[in-house]
Amino acid sequence: MLNNIDKEILNRVADMTHIPEGAYNIRKNGAGIMRNTTPNIDIRTKEDKPGIDIIVKPFTKGETVHIPVLLTNQGLEDLVYNTFEIGEGSDVLVVAGCGIHNPGEETSQHDGIHTFFVRKNARMKYVEKHYASGSGKGKKILNPKTIIEIEEGGYAEIETVQIKGVDYSKRDTEVRVGKNAHLLITERLMTDGDQYAESIVIVDLVGVDSSVQIISRSVAKDHSEQIFYPRVNGHERCKGHVQCDAIIMNNARVRAIPEIAAYNADAELVHEAAIGKIAGEALIKLMTLGLSQEESEEAILKGFLR
């Protein structure tokens, strides 16, 4: 059922070299093709619209859910709604990710709308990788929307990676962080050619002693364009830290517009944003160790996007 291209993509987007243990649902070209559930994690097909419900029972610990999406037919526009119920006191890893292989001339597009309920004292790590390949002129477009509600004492870690091949992406992330709940978002992005990537993050710290940390690292090459718009609103006693760090090369364009807003005198919010070339001294240092200029750049970018 899975051919070599599928396997390559699965490896890229979900670190899957074999069929994973635990729960999974593999979606290919607009339809679910493989699924596994466990006694603690159920996956159900939605009845009213395309997509699935993933239900993690309360107090489930150490299990994983893989839900990769593959698009290998050109000219396909896939829209999917996934809802995650991360039960009270559970601790799980969710690996999503979308890979497009588009060899043709027509646009391939996947728009995923993910809604998460991280219940009381639950912990979730969510990893989403984007990857696209295919040498044709067909555009490869990914527009993920992620909506998260973290209840009291909960913790969510969101890690997104888009390193290669995606021509256009517009990422929307909205999170409400409850009492004594915490959120960590790390975003890594590299664009080249004429690619365009936009990321809008809105975090509302609505509970007392809630916190968020947003770390974005990106590299923009060639004629590509990136826009970051992370916003943190502090409504209670809370802590927020936004850090955007971009390396710009060639004729790329990067805009970083962090915004912090406090609606409470006990909100402590900080933002830092920096855009710059690869540090000349760092480049020179690696060259003095025997790397060529290109190898030095590569080593620096690889580290930066780690």
Binding site: I284, L286, M287, T288, G290, Q293, A299, I300, F304, L305
Partner: protein
């Protein structure tokens, strides 16, 4: 042997007049010997080191390594021929670990050798190999790792730019020991840029650089005594009186 012939280096900024950072440097640095470049701040020591490494291109003059004219070789090519330079202010790298930097330096992946190189500069390997080369490392730690990156390589010509700066007393002993070892074990020409008496003591020959020129060269037995009680730099009467009043 590395030879500098008539090296001059002039910089021109938009606002100011051309400035001679180095003028007419002639120098032969022999195999198996160790040299210390010393002299006042701004004298041109680091600039000379960067010219040897290829980081700066001289305005005129030429450089020979073992008879080969390397004046037009770039940094990478010079590195591959066995020239190494430990920076006065080592740069930081986000996301690159100490172990990765040492691997790049030695040209092979992580090995016991890296461990011993860290140990030689007074760092406990298991505490540092996985650390990122970012701003979380202290200044002295950065300096020591910088020295270790050179120890990881097989060099014909090694320049250490103020290796002792920011290094505490305890590791200082270890460091001098390491330099002694390099001197004895390898066929490396060792150049250390320093202001420190203990480092000056390691030199077979001391080269005094000031105002972009080589002012004096000679074995330490000749130069060291005159450098240590430099008559150009004694306190004048007013100055002495003031410091006595403060005491």
């Amino acid at each position: 042997m590395l030879e500098l012939r008539n090296i001059s280096f002039t910089v021109q900024t938009e606002e100011s007049e051309p400035f001679d950072v180095l003028s007419n440097i002639n120098l032969k640095l022999e195999d198996n010997l160790s040299y210390v470049f010393t002299g006042p701040n701004g004298g041109g020591k680091s600039s000379l080191a960067k010219i040897i490494m290829g980081i700066y291109q001289p305005t005129s003059g030429s450089i020979f390594l073992e008879g080969e004219d390397i004046t037009n070789l770039n940094i990478t090519e010079r590195a591959k021929r066995g020239i190494g330079y430990a920076f006065q202010q080592p740069p930081r790298f986000k996301g690159i670990t100490v172990s990765e930097l040492l691997s790049i330096s030695s040209g092979s992946s992580y090995s016991m050798k890296e461990c011993s190189n860290l140990y030689k500069v007074g760092l406990c390997p298991q505490d540092y190999l996985k650390r990122e080369m970012n701003s979380s490392l202290s200044g002295g730690e950065m300096k020591r790792i910088e020295i270790a990156t050179l120890l990881a390589r097989k060099l014909k010509f090694a320049i250490f730019d103020e290796p002792e700066a920011g290094i505490d007393l305890w590791s200082f002993g270890k460091l001098t020991e390491t330099f002694e070892n390099i001197k004895e074990k390898h066929d490396t020409t060792l150049v250390i840029i320093s202001h420190q008496e203990r480092i000056l003591n390691l030199a077979d020959e001391i080269i005094l650089i000031a105002d972009g020129k080589i002012q004096r060269t000679g074995p330490k037995s000749e130069l060291l005594p005159s450098l240590l009680n430099n008559p150009d730099c004694s306190c004048n009467y007013n100055c002495q009186e003031r410091s006595e009043n403060h005491a």
